[in-house]
């Protein structure tokens, strides 16, 4: 396993507040990497910097050795780093298939002139095939014509991942994908993520559901007050005193 | 009985420019009632009553084109009166194709391209020279002036004309003309600027009454006590109410009230001006203004020409109109305009100079526009050119 995505001295300041404070960690290719920490630790902010939504106040994000910090979100995406959003962020008014088709934007870049004349048949059918494949992968193919906004919560989450998956990403960033799911749904979702991993996709995940985190992650980084706190496998983290103190607590509801 | 002649009225009746159309239509209705009551129009084959057919063009060239088509091809009118301006060029192709006779209130619409467009009511803004000339003769102590106008199709030629008139009269301009946006509502800054140079005369050009009133009020409140000259002073009684009789004393402009005794003279071609004025004010109190009578005065001219020709056909009427001396509202006049408009389709003669005396507008004099032009035409052309207002400069 190689270092694939690396965060180096990443810093984000909002006015007087340093939300992320020279944070460094490495994500190995083909793994599921967890990022945990107390509320307000700076996890979402870190995600926002990696995905290009924020421009870091300092530090670097390296993808395969290339510095991608400060690039715009679509430029980051085009380098293979795709994110999903907290809450179900979808094209609610479009159909499920159309959602997935938007996901194929990168591999099948639309061309307006070809589209008008009708010379893009191949691309269109290629995109559609890819979209269907992604939907099938997440077991959504029977819902293809539904409006995305009408889907159940769980299906919406799956669709969000299908949209990301359709673009052939190398890395997927997931921000709290398990919120609002019951244990059964959580288990299904975990299965989907394992499949993504099986497909060679690297996953970086922020989550407060310890059942999921511990069950899924190869490596877990814990941060607190914007700073690195600990890193290790699930077992290590579960028993790490600083993590217990800052984050896990007595863990009476933690799996 | 039973036979009617239809006359088209193609002007804005709704929207922001409606004030230039609606009162005119009101005046025409009165005109038609009076003419019809007096037996209508007598042509070769008997007498006809007159009916106005209106079309609201919303001051839009495309709608004006549609309206002209409707009036000519569907309603069968014999003559169309327009406000002109923005809307005329849209109608021009229709006029060219159909040969219909049109009139406009804005002579800047005239061009050699269309021989069937006439401007018989007023030759805006050329008559304004008469006011300046009169002022220079009667108050020679006034030496300096400033002016302002809205930056639009009426304001600019007016600015050029007044510049020429002041130059001809030897009155010095203290400042460049101040142009303001037609959407202006607060005139304090404009007035502050105008009087900052302490001029003897403030000239309001062809400001619309919506501007003249607040400007006059501001002049009063900011302490100006000198001479004011303006093209119009509609509702001047209200201006007096807002300022004072003293302040408004001697205000010079160009549009008389039609109850002025001077209009009963034999030179006047408008039928019963006093009666018309009274009737209009009875029906539309507080709405009297220049447009109220101008369309009606055109109808007087048209009626005379049609009766002379014995026919309502546009060609015949046009020919009859142009034969001999023209009968302008304020006296005999000539068809004139080649130098400025490229065609002699504007009716020019004497024009009244009006001044306010003890709270009432009084005609002080009728002055000849052609006489002034014969002496100072070059100045007018110079200034018109500077503002791109010559007919061949208008793209």
């Amino acid at each position: 396993m190689t270092d694939f995505l690396e965060v180096k001295d990443l810093t984000m300041r909002f006015g007087g507040l340093t939300a992320v404070d020279s944070l460094s960690f490495k994500v190995a290719h083909g793994t599921i990497h967890g990022l945990i920490g107390p509320n307000g630790a700076g996890k979402t902010t870190t995600f926002n910097m990696i995905s290009g939504f924020y421009k870091p106040s300092g530090g670097q994000v390296l993808l395969r050795g290339e510095d991608i910090s400060g690039l715009q979100m679509h430029e980051v995406a085009r380098r293979g780093v795709v994110r999903t959003f907290q809450h179900s962020t979808l094209f609610a008014e479009l159909t499920v298939l159309e959602n997935a088709l938007v996901g194929t934007h990168m591999p099948f870049r639309p061309n307006i002139f070809a589209a008008i004349i009708g010379w893009d048949r191949e691309d269109r059918s290629g995109a559609e095939a890819r979209a269907r494949e992604a939907l099938e992968f997440f077991g959504l193919d029977h819902l293809m014509r539904e409006r995305a906004g009408d889907l159940s919560h769980g299906h919406q989450r799956a669709l969000g991942m299908a949209v990301a998956y359709a673009s052939h990403p190398d890395v997927i960033l997931l921000d709290e994908p398990f919120t609002g799911m019951n244990p059964e749904e959580t288990r299904q979702m975990m299965g989907l993520m394992e499949r993504l991993k099986g497909d060679g996709i690297t996953i970086l995940i922020v989550e407060h559901d310890m059942q999921a985190i511990m069950g899924l992650c190869d490596t877990i980084t814990c941060m607190s007050f914007g700073k690195f706190l600990a890193e290790g496998g699930p077992q290590e983290i579960r028993n790490h005193p600083a993590v217990i103190e800052a984050y896990l607590g007595g863990a009476r509801h933690v799996a | 009985a039973g036979k009617t002649i239809k006359i088209g009225f193609l002007a804005p009746l709704t929207g922001a420019v409606a004030a230039w159309g609606k009162p005119g239509l009101d005046g025409c209705q009165i005109w038609a009632e009076r003419v019809n009551a007096a037996g209508g129009i007598t042509l070769g084959d008997g007498s006809y009553s007159v009916e106005f057919v209106s079309y609201d063009n919303e001051y839009d060239p495309a709608k004006a084109r549609t309206g002209a088509t409707k009036l000519i091809r569907e309603d069968g009118v014999s003559f169309i009166m327009m406000l002109g301006g923005d809307t005329w060029p849209g109608v021009q192709p229709v006029a060219d194709k159909t040969g219909m006779l049109f009139s406009t209130l804005l002579p800047s619409d005239l061009s050699p391209d269309t021989s069937t467009l006439i401007a018989p009511a007023e030759v805006h803004p050329i008559y304004n020279v008469t006011g300046v000339e009169w002022l220079a003769e009667n108050k020679p102590e006034l030496k300096t002036a400033v002016m302002c106008a809205q930056d639009d199709a009426l304001g600019l030629p007016s600015v050029a004309t007044y510049l020429a008139a002041f130059e001809a009269a030897g009155i010095e301009m203290l400042d460049e003309p101040l142009l303001f946006d037609p959407a202006t509502t607060d005139f304090a800054p404009v007035v502050t600027r105008l009087i900052s140079k302490s001029p003897d005369i403030v000239c309001l050009d062809t400001c619309y009454s919506d501007y003249v009133h607040p400007i006059a009020e501001q002049l009063f409140q900011q302490g100006f006590t000198g001479q004011i000259i303006s093209c119009t002073a509609d509702f001047y009684d209200q201006m007096i109410a807002k300022t004072s009789e003293d302040f408004m004393e001697g205000f010079v402009f160009q549009f008389p009230d039609f109850d002025d005794p001077a209009l009963n003279g034999g030179n006047i071609n408008f039928t019963d001006p006093n009666g018309f004025y009274e009737e209009f004010n009875r029906r539309h109190p507080g709405q009297w203004g220049a447009v109220s009578w101008e369309y009606a005065s055109i109808m007087d001219l048209w009626k005379a020409a049609a009766e002379k020709a014995g026919s309502a056909s546009p060609d015949a009427v046009a020919a009859a109109m142009k034969e001999g001396k023209g009968k302008h509202a304020f006296g005999d006049a000539d068809w004139w305009g080649t130098e400025l408009f490229g065609i002699d389709n504007a009716l020019v003669g004497d024009w009244p100079v009006v001044a306010i005396e003890k709270g009432k507008a009084r005609i002080k004099d009728f002055r000849s526009i052609p006489d002034w032009y014969a002496r100072h035409g070059d100045l007018l052309i110079k200034h018109m050119k500077a503002y791109d207002q010559m007919w061949d400069q208008r793209s």
């Binding site: 679509h74 795709v82 094209f91 | 409707k70 021009q92």
Partner: protein, 326 residues
């Protein structure tokens, strides 16, 4: 096959249409045809979720460009019309730099300000724009004959056929764009620009693209207008007309391609023909305002929702049209 028949019948009806109308109605038909292109192009912009108040000024850019090209450079009219569209699109690209820093209400008013600045420039620079009086005597489309039909472009019917063909072609392109992956991306940019961006869509570029295309077609509609009426001036492209375009689109409904067109046709016919015929001439603004309010209260999804109800009943489980907006 019945689809083919429907289209042929519609085409025949459109060809026959002017012959069933009075002269002034034929004139209105010409302007209506031009406005259909205007409002349909406006819809393309709204696909990305932005509502501009500069669209009519951009139409004016096309009109001014085309008029000046023929007047000053003697460019052949149909060519200058096309160039008018191109120039309008280029201006839109320029405007996109400041404007697309803004969104929503800010974009709405920002675009209004940009449009006003353009209009003030027309007013202020009498050379070459003619100032407040604008440009007149614009060359008409030269007459020509195609054997069995002689085009006399003074006649509304001829111009209607000419403009109709151009507008139909433009609508076809707009339709193709909307139904293409590009169109889908426009929708995506509208509904969730963040997610679109995360999917690799250059949101800014797509907004600009939609703005430029919409503006190009608006420019062509402006050119069509200029060479028919023969005159243009800054006031003809002011906020009043823009408000009409906006209300055509919203009253018609913006969820479908035909919604805004429907709105344009129905409201224009009501305002220019029905109300005038009823002799309500000076009351038209009152009645028109009331109609607008009532239609939006009772048909919040636009006139198109009536059509949708009708067509969806007939085709219950075909691919559904995009669902109602907002």
């Amino acid at each position: 096959m019945p689809k083919f028949l429907i289209w042929t019948a519609a085409l025949a009806a459109l060809v026959a249409l002017p012959h069933g109308l009075s002269f002034s109605q034929q004139e209105i038909l010409v302007f209506l045809t031009i406005n259909v292109l205007l409002v349909a192009s406006y819809r393309l912009l709204t696909l990305t979720g932005e509502w501009s108040l500069a669209h009519v000024v951009i139409m004016g850019v096309g009109a001014y460009s085309s008029a000046l090209l023929t007047k000053k450079l003697g460019v052949y009219v149909p060519v200058s019309m096309l160039l008018g569209g191109v120039i309008a699109a280029l201006i839109a690209v320029l405007l996109s730099f400041p404007l697309f820093r803004m969104k929503g209400f800010y974009f709405l008013i920002g675009s209004f300000a940009a449009g006003e600045i353009i209009r003030l420039l027309w007013k202020r620079f009498r050379d070459p724009f003619g100032g407040a009086k604008g440009i007149k005597g614009i060359d008409p489309m030269p007459d020509f004959s195609i054997g069995f039909y002689k085009f006399d472009f003074f006649e509304p019917t001829s111009y209607y056929y000419f403009a109709g063909v151009i507008v139909a072609f433009c609508l076809w392109i707009l339709w193709r764009i909307e139904k293409s992956p590009v169109g889908l991306t426009f929708h995506a940019v509208h509904w969730q620009d963040k997610l679109a961006q995360a999917s690799g869509v250059n949101v800014r570029a797509y907004r600009t693209l939609a703005f430029a295309i919409a503006s190009g077609f608006a420019g062509i509609s402006g050119a069509l207008l200029a060479h028919y009426v023969g005159t243009i001036n800054p006031n003809a492209f002011d906020i009043d007309l823009m408000v009409f375009v906006l209300t055509w689109a919203i009253v018609g409904g913006t969820a479908t391609f035909y919604g805004p067109i429907l709105g344009c046709v129905v409201l224009t016919v009501l305002n220019e023909i029905v109300l005038r015929e009823l002799g309500l001439e000076q009351m038209r603004p009152l009645v028109y305002g009331a109609i607008m309010i009532l239609s939006i209260l009772f048909l919040p999804n636009g006139l198109e929702s009536i059509v949708q109800k009708f067509t969806q009943r007939r085709a219950p489980d075909g691919a559904p049209e995009r669902s109602p907006a907002e």
